[in-house]
């Protein structure tokens, strides 16, 4: 790989960094607070690539670093071509946010922490808005049973399930990027079946019971568009 190719590759990778620094498309892969440092990294790469191109054109008689020829070959290791793979994957597959397939492979989370829970937020239009992680952890391990009898509203995607009533409702929590995503899942009963990966907003009540998946008795279920932030953080 010669210097010019190197520089173009760096520009391309840098451009992806800059784009994802701004665009919501990055939220399928990363948490929002990660975007600024991705943007900075992209700018640095664009600068490095640009510097390489300028240097090269500034040196007459060496188009493409030809003057260095094979000596310069180690400068552009062949393995660098692999950097084009994520670019092509992004362009061709444009992978979506993790969904029911990935959630189904994780199995239930047991307890998450032994620390106490804060007071439930105030209700809005007759129900408390809760993240799925909050709902699942409170349902499974809150000694105060703060969910008992409280109408709640949660948003998640549908994961069909043959083994019991209704379907599973799931949403991922991400600490850093989608690679560390953990799915929090509850069972929704009283709403029949729904196709996989449909995003729904469920208003209902926690149905106390044992087992490692809590049960949510649905009052109303609305299909909603996939949220801009597909994960909880």
């Amino acid at each position: 790989m010669d210097r010019r190719t190197e520089s173009v590759l760096l520009l391309a990778v840098g451009a992806v960094g800059v784009r994802f620094g701004f665009s919501d498309a990055a939220l399928a892969y990363l948490k929002p607070s990660f975007q600024p440092i991705l943007l900075i990294a992209g700018v640095v790469l664009v600068l490095l690539g640009g510097h390489g191109l300028l240097r090269d054109s500034a040196r007459p008689g060496s188009p493409g670093g030809g003057e260095h020829g094979d000596h310069d070959d180690h400068g552009g290791p062949g393995v660098a071509w692999l950097l084009a793979v994520p670019l092509l994957v992004l362009l061709l597959i444009a992978p979506p946010a993790l969904g029911s397939f990935a959630a189904g492979r994780q199995g239930p989370v047991a307890s998450v922490s032994d620390s106490g829970f804060v007071e439930l937020p105030a209700a809005r239009e007759g129900a408390v808005d809760l993240g799925l992680r909050d709902f699942v952890t409170r349902a499974l391990q809150d000694p105060e049973r703060s969910l008992d009898g409280v109408p709640v509203r949660v948003v998640g995607f549908v994961m069909p399930d043959e083994s019991g009533d209704g379907y599973l409702l799931s949403r991922f929590t991400v600490a850093c990027c989608a690679a560390d995503a953990t799915a929090y899942t509850t069972r929704v009963v009283g709403d029949g079946e729904r196709p996989a990966d449909t995003w729904v907003e469920v208003t209902g009540r926690w149905e106390p019971g044992d087992g490692d998946v809590p049960v949510l008795e649905a009052d109303t279920v609305t299909v909603v568009p996939a949220p801009e932030e597909p994960y909880e953080y």
């Binding site: 790989m1 590759l9 240097r55 493409g64 393995v79 950097l83 670019l87 492979r105 047991a110 560390d180």
Partner: protein
């Protein structure tokens, strides 16, 4: 004669590589609606999502790493590095490990830095100790661990002690038993005598392309393992302590999580004992698939084949000892 002609021919074709590359990217954008249907499989899509997110997430840390390695090469005289990291392992290894504690990087950033430090004359044992310590015990990682394990400060302490011990022990072992011939040092990317900024940019560029390529290998492998080995399988062994330790150690290698995020995953693996989860946290930043690929690329395959098992064994033992003592 014919050799020369072939090289000439190749060069002539090679001149158009950047343009071809750009054409391929443009074609990919234009063709996307037509080929989208080919990639519908849930397995492939999940793999792609995880692969892309590991790569994107490592990118800023890698950039930070190569900027530092470029700056060290261009602006720090070799004599100073040799003096700061002298060939006296008893002093250099612990101090290099402590230096790692203030460098807020992910594991992928510290590999190119260690490579440059070594090729600039630092004692390899010290550079390796830095490489192990930096991603494991820096303040960001410690803070993330504290957040992930609320009300359990002993977890933070245990992680610090165990990871610090890994860096020191592996460094000392390497200085005692390691051979120079096992290391293939990174070559200078820019010829001697060039302007400093050119040295800086050239080194950073070279190290980024090199480490970036290997990062892609590691990310692809880690994503494949995540997709093909369901996490639910892992949690079924939690009851047997020894098995649990081995499985979580193996999982840390296979998942290749960023050291700033692994505490949250460890927290969610609550079927396992704290000691088993400490093993997960200590092994992960020291040895994982992505790191093995990066190290093989930076220091050579012979190095990675020896270093990865050594680090793995030391990390597991250190975490077990500290776990029994502190937790």
């Amino acid at each position: 004669m014919s050799d020369l002609q072939v090289t000439d021919e190749r060069r002539r074709l090679g001149r158009f590589v950047p343009e071809l590359f750009v054409l391929v990217l443009v074609a990919a954008v234009l063709l996307r609606p037509r080929v989208a249907g080919w990639f519908d499989s849930a397995t492939l899509q999940t793999w792609s999502t995880v692969f892309v997110s590991i790569t994107l997430q490592a990118l800023p840390f890698l950039v930070l790493g190569v900027v530092v390695s470029g700056a060290v090469t261009a602006f720090v005289p070799s004599s100073l590095i040799a003096r700061l990291l002298p060939d006296r392992p008893a002093v250099a290894v612990p101090s290099a490990s402590l230096a790692g504690a203030v460098f807020p990087g992910c594991e992928c950033g510290s590999v190119p830095i260690a490579g440059r430090l070594t090729s600039l004359g630092a004692a390899p044992a010290a550079a390796l100790a830095f490489m192990l310590a930096a991603p494991a015990i820096n303040p960001v990682v410690m803070a993330a661990t504290a957040v992930a394990f609320p009300g359990q400060p002993e977890m933070v302490l245990a992680r610090f002690l165990a990871s610090f011990a890994v860096a020191v022990v592996v460094g000392l072992l390497w200085s005692r038993f390691g051979r120079g011939s096992w290391l293939r040092l990174p070559r200078r990317a820019v010829p001697e005598g060039a302007n400093r900024w050119d040295v800086f940019a050239g080194t950073a560029r070279h190290d980024f392309l090199h480490a970036g390529g290997w990062l892609v290998v590691g990310a692809a492998a880690a994503a494949a393992l995540q997709v093909f080995i369901p996490r639910s399988l892992v949690t079924t062994v939690a009851t047997n302590e020894w098995l649990a330790v081995l499985v979580l150690a193996g999982l840390a290698v296979l998942l290749a999580l960023c050291s700033e995020a692994d505490a949250f995953v460890a927290a969610s693996l609550s079927q396992f004992s704290l000691t088993a989860r400490l093993v997960f946290l200590v092994v992960g930043p020291a040895v994982d698939i992505k790191l093995i690929a990066l190290q093989a690329g930076t220091f050579g395959r012979g190095f990675a084949l020896r270093f990865a098992p050594l680090t793995f064994v030391v990390a597991v033992s250190s975490a077990l000892v500290v776990g029994w003592w502190v937790l």
